[in-house]
Amino acid sequence: MVIDIHAHPVLFDVINPDDETLSFRKKQLGVYKSGRVPLDFALRLMDDAGIDKTLILGEDYSADSPRPLVSNDEIKTVLDAAPGHFIGFAGADPRKEDAKDELERAFSKLGLSGLYLNLSRLRMFPDDERLLPLMKLCEDSGKPVIFNSGYSWMPDTPAKYSEPVRFEDIACAFPRLRICLSHLGWPWHMQTVMMLMKYPNVYTDTSLVYMGTPTAWYSQIFTKEMDIGWLQNSFADKVMFGSDLPRWRQVRAMKGLRDLPVRKDVLERLLGRNAEEFLGWRERDDR
């Protein structure tokens, strides 16, 4: 199974009934010239890329914004419009008193599969105590968390709040909580490597192509700045394919991974198996 673990559904037509809503989302995420994407066309693009499921991220910054960027109900709308094609992650704004209640509702009533947080947008460090109830709920519910890590292209997102090593306290305090430090934590990717090796519950994704082509960029990161043996032999079970849709087209981001000089079993892990383990669909072998 091929899974894209990192996609923003902000342009999907089924959650953008009017231009005002679409414009709000485009400005918030910073995808200015992009247009509305019909859901059936998004499915054709997934099919063209050979992707079985795409994980779509809910995002809630409503403590300082008129409405969630993508609400949990809107994530549910996409799931219902294309059953079986998407995995929905919830958003919750930890600055709001009802954040835990909303997350509970997203899990129990809407059936969402995990939580997404961009602490740079929230201007919260990972050791902020307001995160603890959400982390505990996710750990107790068996739901994983994806954090923006390192660079975020979204406007108004200071990177200092998402430095990978700052997530160490969460990884220690919640050892049964699977967390993804997305974007490989670039430009602090060596910190992320340490986190992957040290903590069995820490994962990352490949939504980090910020310069050049995916093929050239992944080659730079995994074969020049690292030895390819690091990925193949030390954390092959921790890296998940993520496109960062709509920043990159899924088929092109995936080509970059397919061009890496890695074994077939490693590529299969990157493209899907690791995501299945992260999502709790498969047992992880910790030996």
Binding site: K26, L29, G30, V31, Y32, K33, S34, P38, F41, R44, L45, D48, W153, V209, Y210, M211, G212, T213, P214, T215, A216, P246, R247, W248, R249, R252
Partner: protein, 143 residues
Amino acid sequence: MIVKLYEKQLESKKEFDLILITDQVREAVADSGVKDGLCAVITQHTTTGIMVNEGLPDVEKDIEILLEKLVPHDDPYVHTRMLPSYGTCSGNSPGHLKSLLAGNHCLFPVIDGKLVLGHAQDIYFAEFDGLLRRKYYIHIMGE
């Protein structure tokens, strides 16, 4: 003088996709009421083209092979960076350069209310950056 502008939409099915649009252009000419004049077919995009060639699959494949040789996918292109005005990454330089080679439009005579084409000629909307939903114009002017 009659001037008619038609906006047509289509959806490409793959990254390189030569889509025959001859029938759509003929229909527009017939609908326009122009008896003698000129018909322009113009793409709205910068990674597509409008081309004329013989509508045969082997010719289409040779065109694809030639353009791929001239504009390889993995050359070190300059247009490979984050675009602040889009909020996305530019990964489609080959499409832009193939569009340059193909040209953005073609012109055809209209005589006796009909589109004039050579017996082997067909009109293509040429996709170099698919899959995408695309638009092109058919602009007809005359008496």
